[in-house]
């Protein structure tokens, strides 16, 4: 018999104490396969409230004043997006819930779908009523079999209780919901690419405008929303915008889910109020670095995010503060690195990822990223020159400025932040042909004849 892990117990603080579980309110508490459980927790009452006592413009005003911003990464105010779709005079209108979660190291949306699928459906229904959309798609990665199964079951149950379909709850509201499966393309999380994919085509982004709010799926007005954003909606309606905006910071209200992974004692899915510092997340919730090793960096925002060093641990986690230091909120991944990780190799890893995932449509991203990867190969194989760093930095700025979509525009972030905060490691690789973390130069040895 083992004994409970002390740090993980609620009473002893640690993992749970600094968390604030709004989005994950029902996770682990209800049986996700039973709609009755969700209803018993107050589920679908927000929808009833909307249908019985609120007008669509009234709902949009409420969401606007809550300050809720899109949790998919860009942080666009949710209420504004809804208003744009509601005002578009073209029909039918669509809602696409983005559960593509292609960022490696991120799994908050999967957990929501597996633990509380009806919260997503209720959020979509409220959005449908507010914007006038009649048809919705949940675009979900095929790599998430359990989430697919749970969501499908939830959809079937909601249909059986007249919460989906025609005349929802005996009102004129009509909303149909279908699952659509992704197939392993990171770029499909981009809002115009996801539309192409839902239409059954290659997930390649297109220039905006026109914006999806006016011309989305099949050129019709489309609301594209992240899963975590949708899960917040029923609570804002139930408890009021004022209640919601009490959590977080004035400009960034509410909470954010993070997948805390890498070299921390307590990895896992966490939900924290906006504005919490990185130090609190890594050391108080994550429990610090295991095996007596030293913290080196935290990667925030996945392959499009930034690598933040120790002296930035006090940075508050909100959209604007993170952008200021070169990272992004992204879809909510924090990977902690210790002394055993090489920052040059980390930047190389993310560059390689973006090379693989570039859709190939625009030249800066398609041709520029491989050039950057070549420079990384040189540096990590002992052939780097000092002039390479300037080329690398210049390429970063070109690709950021000139790429069509978010993938290219943010792909240089890990490179730029490592150049900014860990330049000495690059210099050491070039000058001494040596990797202090012992990660690089290995392939070269293996290539030599045995």
């Amino acid at each position: 018999m083992g004994s409970p892990v002390k740090e993980m117990l609620y009473e002893s603080g640690g993992f749970f104490k600094k968390q604030h579980r709004i989005v994950l309110r029902n996770a682990g508490k209800i049986d996700p396969n039973r709609i009755q459980d969700y209803i018993a927790m107050g589920g679908y009452t927000a929808l009833v409230k909307c249908l019985s006592s609120m007008t669509p413009p009234g709902i949009i005003t409420e969401i606007l004043s809550s300050g809720l911003r899109g949790r998919g990464g860009a942080g666009f105010p949710t209420g504004q997006k809804w208003r744009l779709v509601a005002q578009a005079n073209n029909s039918p209108k669509y809602i696409v819930a983005n559960l593509d979660e292609g960022d490696p190291g991120v799994y908050a949306n999967r957990s929501i779908a597996e633990a509380d699928p009806h919260a997503i459906i209720e959020g979509m229904l409220i959005a449908a009523y507010a914007t006038g959309a009649e048809k919705g798609y949940i675009y979900i990665r095929k790599e998430y079999p359990l989430a697919i199964q749970t969501l499908q079951k939830a959809i079937d149950q909601a249909k059986a209780m007249s919460l989906l379909g025609d005349n929802i709850l005996e009102t004129p509201l009509k909303f149909d919901l279908t699952l659509r499966f992704g197939a392993g393309a990171f770029v499909a999380g981009e809002e115009t690419a996801i539309l192409a994919s839902v239409e059954g085509r290659r997930a390649m982004p297109r220039p905006r405008p026109p914006y999806p709010a006016n011309s989305g799926l099949w050129q019709k007005p489309t609301l594209i929303q992240n899963i975590e954003t949708l899960t917040n909606i029923p609570l804002i309606i139930q408890n009021s915008a004022a209640w919601f905006s009490k959590t977080g910071t004035p400009k960034c209200t509410g909470t954010k889910c993070f997948s805390l992974t890498g070299k921390v004692k307590n990895p896992g899915l966490i939900e924290v109020p906006m504005g919490i510092t990185l130090r609190e997340v890594v050391f108080d919730i994550g429990g610090g670095i295991p095996d007596g090793k030293k913290f080196k960096a935290a990667l925030i925002g996945g392959p499009s995010g930034g690598c933040l060093p120790e002296h930035l641990l006090e940075v508050p986690i909100d959209y604007d503060s993170l952008t200021k230091v070169g990272a992004i909120m992204g879809s909510g991944g924090i990977v902690v690195l210790d002394q055993d990780s090489c920052m040059v190799d980390t930047a190389r890893y993310f560059t390689e990822f973006c090379v693989d995932e570039s859709c190939g449509r625009c030249t800066p991203c398609r041709a520029g990223l491989p050039r950057m990867l070549e420079i990384f190969q040189k540096i990590t194989h002992g052939q780097g020159e000092f002039s390479d760093l300037a080329v690398l930095e210049k390429s970063c700025h070109f690709i950021r400025e000139a790429s069509l979509c978010g993938l290219g525009q943010t792909a240089p972030n890990p490179v730029l932040t490592t150049l900014r905060y860990f330049k000495s490691e690059y210099l050491h690789h070039i000058e001494n042909k040596e990797c202090e973390a012992g990660v690089c130069f290995k392939t070269r040895d293996e290539d030599e004849p045995k």
Binding site: Y107, R141, F181, G182, G200
Partner: protein
Amino acid sequence: MKDDKRRGLLEKVLKDHGYQESALLEILHGAQEIYGFLDKELLTEIAGVLNLPPSQVYGVATFYSFFKLRKPGEHVVTACLGTACYVKGVEPIIAAIEEEFHLKRGGSTEDGKLSILQTRCIGACAMAPIISIDDVIIGKATKEVVIKHIKQVLGETKAEAV
């Protein structure tokens, strides 16, 4: 060639999706579940039924990394290359598998018994590094454990859950 039973299943998938162009990804997923992989012949056939240019169907199948265009081995090892797995050292495990079983990532052994594929993230990062063997997930994987499991799976005619 395309035997009747599987052809019938494919027909059902097509019908369930109303032969719609917009459901092409779902149809390809269905076809891959039935046949194990999508060869040119199958893609051409699907294109024909949906009344789409074969180039379009082929283009979609090649765009998404989830679709397999070549026949995978009898047993499939999938290594997660997500950030958390990378940081926690999945690379040395892949290298050890390659060396032990004489194959390269993305490929199969000569006898077609084993393939090793890579995936970008299966979203179980707290258990990194992750290797899956025939859909059985091994979390906090080590070289020794993974190689032992693969040997077990290969050693028996019917793979037992490990």
